[in-house]
């Protein structure tokens, strides 16, 4: 009996089915809590799912690589989902075009603040140079951030982690900051989320309001561009 159980465990821990299933179950658990709370920002479903899964991998001693063999099927959908952002962007394009100037200025300033404050606060609190360089592009989507990090001498794998943590921070606390500032305009709220917290912030924005989601998607894309241009300039000015 014990051997049979062991064999079953060995089988289940190697098949991709397990990684995929636990990812969906953890997300649905997070989503249930989130929806039941009226989509309370602190109960962010990404955060809940990650905490549950990290706990599971750690407790069951499953290597991330093996988990990812199953989870990659979910990860893969990020590509088509990015393409799908064209639909809300198209739907709200008239509103975007009317405010093209305001959007460009807001994102350029937001991108500058993201880079300078990340480096500034990190430096003031004693972070190493390698960490500072890895922090600089933290607000943009992972593939772009890793590319920027590598080009300036940061550590791309550290940047990947910082990008995820930034997204969660924005999605969880962003709502409070904007409420405290009395911001009611969905366009402004979406732009703030997307500029600071890329796709994870955009996911939150879509769950709250579709117009905010469209502006957040736009901000995520434009900030990738702005940050790629600005980071090397800021680094040159500082060194």
């Amino acid at each position: 009996m014990k051997d049979e159980f062991f064999e079953l465990w060995v089988y289940l821990s190697t098949t991709p089915l397990t990684g995929l299933t636990v990812t969906l179950v953890a997300y649905l658990a997070g989503r249930r809590l989130y929806d039941a709370s009226g989509r309370h920002p602190l109960l962010n479903p990404v955060l809940i799912a990650i905490v549950l899964l990290v706990g599971l991998l750690w407790a069951a001693d499953i290597p991330y690589r093996r988990y990812f063999e199953g989870a990659q099927f979910v990860h893969f959908l990020l590509g088509p989902a990015t393409v799908a952002l064209a639909v809300p962007l198209y739907r709200h394009f008239a509103e975007i075009r009317r405010n093209a100037f305001a959007i460009a200025v807001s994102i350029a300033l937001g991108a500058s603040v993201a880079i300078v404050t990340a480096i500034g606060v990190g430096w003031a609190m004693g972070a190493s140079e390698r960490t500072l360089l890895s922090l600089a592009p933290k607000s943009v989507t992972t593939p772009v951030a890793m590319g920027i990090s590598e080009s300036i001498g940061g550590l791309p794998s550290l940047t990947a982690v910082l990008v995820i943590l930034t997204g969660i921070t924005g999605a969880v606390f962003g709502t409070y900051v904007m409420n405290a500032l009395g911001l009611k305009d969905w366009r402004a709220r979406g732009l703030g989320m997307g500029t600071a917290a890329h796709g994870i912030g955009t996911a939150r924005a879509f769950q709250v309001n579709e117009l905010a989601g469209a502006f957040s998607s736009l901000a995520m894309g434009l900030n990738a561009l702005a940050t790629a241009v600005l980071v090397p300039v800021v680094i040159r000015l500082l060194s």
Partner: protein, 115 residues
Amino acid sequence: MIENLTLLLVCQLIGEAVVRLAGLPVPGPVVGMALLFGLLAWRGGIPDGLGKTTAGLLDHLSLLFVPAGVGVILHFDLVAAEWPAIVGALILSTLATIAVTALVMRKLAKPEDRA
């Protein structure tokens, strides 16, 4: 649904090919998004089914970040070594960015067109 998913994948595939052929510094799906946007503009509207498929996908956008997020487990030690500075920088910088971007936008945006 399969037709719409295929449309998204075809756009992505063309995007990936263009990025590699032209050596562009943006991810392939972003070019795919521009392509789909162009198609919608050319067609002059969003087909019903496509609207539903993309809404379903985007409603669960947060799910798609979970596998990469669990990857944090691989680099715990890198973050743990300097965690006070990293946590401080992430929180202050992220919140300052949200505040500045949204406040500037509120100041500059034209009143919303509700037509």
